[in-house]
Symmetry: C2
Subunit: 553 residues, 2 copies
């Protein structure tokens, strides 16, 4: 018989950035913490989103008691519509988090969710044997939480994404008191955010941005256009406050900024004085020095607001003299070149641009080393497992815990798919469960996989050459072709000689087979493919994909 045990199973988010989802199991009870997306790597051509593979959960549906959300960022809630299509379970979260989830479900036309349950921090959700408590945390989105999960074997504290901000914009402090109390009572396992473990010291308070904004707004002569993360309600609040102070109307521009600000206003998380917010259509009714625009595109995305403005393709906003752009965000890894391109273009058009390299217009939402140390000291858990980070972050977070005095045998650096199983006797980490990535491309979920991506990569690198020949299987003769079609290979007009060589080689190859009365398609095709690949590589040192198509008529 199995011993009584608690399993913690990361189905995503450990050893990778994004798609955070953690499963906690005690006997026949399962809860899920968060369910996010990640964004495709640059070599995942054509992929729109990456969601976690939840096969592991599908044959345990009846055991799953709920999905518990720490906060409303995409990498924690983005995959909920996809999971709810397969598993209908209650979703627990604070008000703003659920507001953002509901917005998302509407877009996916999911209306018959069994239950969306709004909780307050301090609430304890009692399931059968597991209980979950929501605890106030501070992060770059309002209404964030840590979770205390009570199991019969002990308490698990999951920090969620957090920083320790002693002066949060909404005054809602991280509940360090409650965490300390739980720590004194005894915590079995700590799961803590590792994102910024490589940064020394303490992160700056969001409030710092407000001071920079006041300085910038006080000098701005024309419009101020701020690109930021749409979900950073506190950042938005500070932009609004600075605008009000300097007598500016505020325009929300771009789908996600409009949606999220709308949700946040309705739920009371964003406070915009009456008549401060104006629709974009009224932009010309006010002098430029009375206008602030909040828009998207702080990551250089081609289709987002800021980029459209920079390249002159925005419907309503055109660059004017004295425009001042603020990029109030840090480029996420991989996006720095895109962001830089947009900045260059704005400067070229004569605008002024302020960004992180020049001023304090962004602070991180994740705890630095000193903040992590505080949490470790308050919690002093029996076991520790770092979460939310690439492998290097998890490794350094484990090192940090050891430096703070934890026994190496009590610290577990695991990755997505590895199971942390706690029994009364100790911890076992040898089990693995099925995990993976599911690609969302257009309407397709999972119909693009690694083979399709490999083909896209090959096509991207060298293009392709299609060779079509029609043969008569009775007379063993070519009746049409070979015709050569290329895409992404070379300028055909400048490579006529090569193309006619390809034709010649293909014809010879087919004729050779026909002479031998060999009509094995596979042999024919392979022969043409090999000869053409060989020819092309010798002449160009390139390896386009060669498709021979033989038609029998």
């Amino acid at each position: 018989m199995d011993k009584e045990s608690v399993k913690v199973i990361p189905l995503g988010g450990l050893g990778e950035i994004g798609k955070n989802i953690t499963v906690i199991e005690y006997e026949d009870e399962i809860i899920i913490i968060d369910c996010g997306i990640s964004f495709p790597d640059e070599d995942m051509y054509g992929v729109d989103l990456v969601i976690p593979d939840i096969k592991y959960l599908l044959d345990k549906k009846e055991k799953i008691k709920g999905l518990f959300l720490t906060h409303g960022h995409e990498d924690h809630i983005g995959a909920i519509p996809y999971i709810l299509k397969q598993i209908n379970i209650p979703v627990y979260g604070t008000k703003l988090t659920l507001g953002l989830v509901e917005n998302k479900l509407k877009e996916h036309r999911i209306l018959d969710v069994s239950t969306i349950i709004s909780v307050h921090t301090g609430d304890i959700i009692e399931l059968d044997k597991i209980k979950v408590e929501f605890i106030k945390a501070t992060h770059s989105i309002a209404d964030s939480c840590s979770l205390a999960i009570y199991t019969p074997l002990g308490v698990i504290l999951h920090t969620g994404d957090f920083k320790i901000d002693y002066t949060p914009i909404d005054g809602r402090l991280m509940d360090l008191g409650r965490i300390a109390q739980l720590g004194r009572e005894g915590i079995m396992l700590l799961l803590a955010d590792s994102t910024n473990v490589e940064r020394q010291g303490h992160s700056l308070s969001e409030k710092v941005i407000g001071e920079t904004l006041i300085k910038i707004f006080s000098n701005a002569k024309g419009r101020v256009i701020v690109a930021t993360f749409a979900s950073n309600i506190h950042r938005m609040q500070q932009i609004i406050d600075a605008s009000v102070k300097y007598n500016r109307k505020v325009i929300f521009s771009g789908r996600s900024v409009e949606n999220i600000s709308q949700v946040a206003m309705e739920l009371g998380y964003l406070h915009v004085p009456e008549e401060t917010s104006i629709p974009i259509e009224e932009i010309n009714q006010y002098p430029n020095e009375n206008i602030t625009i909040i828009t998207t595109g702080s990551q250089g995305e081609a289709m987002a607001g800021l980029s459209r403005i920079a390249y002159g393709s925005h419907r309503n906003i055109f660059i004017e003299r004295d425009d001042l752009f603020l990029i109030s965000a840090s480029p996420i890894p991989g996006n720095d070149k895109l962001v830089s391109r947009v900045i260059n273009q704005l400067f070229r058009k004569g605008a002024d641009v302020i960004y992180e390299d020049l001023e304090d217009v962004h602070v991180s939402g994740h705890a630095y080393q000193e903040e992590l140390k505080l949490i470790h000291r308050l919690v002093h858990p029996k076991y520790f497992m770092p979460v939310h980070g690439e492998y290097r972050h998890l490794k350094h977070h484990s090192d940090l815990a050891k430096k703070l005095g934890m026994k190496p045998s009590d610290v577990f650096t695991l990755e997505t798919g590895q199971v942390l199983e706690i029994t009364g006797d100790g911890v076992n980490t040898n089990k693995r469960v099925h995990t993976g990535t599911v690609f969302v491309d257009g309407l397709g979920v999972g119909d693009v996989g690694n083979i399709v991506l490999r083909d896209r990569r090959d096509l991207a690198k060298y293009g392709m050459i299609t060779i079509v020949v029609a043969i008569d299987r009775h007379s063993y003769s070519i009746v049409a072709g070979p015709d050569i079609i290329t895409r992404g290979f070379v300028y055909v007009r400048e490579s006529e000689e090569l193309i006619s060589k390809i034709k010649e080689v293909s014809r010879m190859e087919v004729e050779g087979c026909l002479e031998n009365k060999n009509l094995e398609w596979q042999v024919l095709k392979t022969g043409v493919k090999k000869s053409v690949e060989h020819l092309v590589y010798n002449k160009t040192k390139r390896r386009p994909i060669v498709f021979p198509i033989i038609m029998e008529v």
Copy 2:
């Protein structure tokens, strides 16, 4: 008649990173400064290198008196083989720079260069009316120079790439005295490196790295494996010095590290005590604590040494317990994710890794604000034009010059292709010359252009669907097909229904045309293409490239 004038024409490097090449013309005399490559953007699929388009120079060949090199980095010398194939001109540079150029020419099997002329700093090359003086500069490669170009209208000072290092590894100081003297005598135009204009303060001396290395080497228990830029001879020297101090043999691993260290040793720029350097084959003859490996791959490149080691595909080097990896470089924009991936993999394999986020293992080779201010103050030119940077850097460098007191009308923020023409009366910047980018892909130079790249991008994003039909133009009937071939689109096995719909739609479209006795190929093809695109977009929201191929038999 034209007035006497000096033209400064950037054919590359302004408003972009890389492919630095500047033309200076006085009457019928032309000189070229540098001739570099740039690396392809992430959306230039399959492109190996980008070189400047030098069409502008081709019909002026006989006027070109020489190519003058500031230093041996790829973005300043990498395109020389390509330009020398079209224009055979003397090449002037310091010893190490020319050593690296000759290495490159050998690889391109260019042996009949008219002249490669080695100069010493202090030398003045006298052409017909122009004179060029080489002046010592400090940078992240040895033997770097600034150039003073004497024209009948005045002196142009081109800083080249530089930083002001008061403690350079080779003791060869930047010749600030000579620059000051020229400044006192009067400089007409300053062209200065803008790369780090956004960084406040003063760059750190290369020597700082040496101190970090000593600290790291003194604690290392196993092998130390350092990935760095192969061209950074001074960095290499410091790694060798630390190795000698701690009784380690040094292995140079990887083509560029081997080549460049060889050239640098032969020319006396790199000093490796006898018996310190060992071939990689002898790696197992020494205990791990007596081994240092210098390798490539500090930018995360898939095929470079470090990445091969990380992923277990290196021929000679396998990760062992206590291995310590140093990444002694900063990821260049766009490479941070690649570098991070390699770091994660090294940690996973149990190695320790030290990189820029953790320790001072890299310093920049380009001047920060305070260094730039010093140069501006010493030179106090009549005119200033920032070079070597993206537009944002050029813009900020111009702002810096103005803050230092220059008249805005004497400062020129130009980009590649814009001509700065100086006459006795003043400056004209209205002229433009032809410039552009030439893509090198395998053996092809210029046979891949924007249309080919657009096709590659489209193929990469959605893949392609080929539809082949053979028709008999006499009986107006389909004799074979339609056959459907897809690549990079969907898993065919999971999308049988869609594929058969595509077949059906194609057949209907062709039969429709045949019924009407319409054999206009273009009409037929367009019909099939449109119908299939429509079908596929509706079903999947994707836009694969659709190639209809109609064969007549």
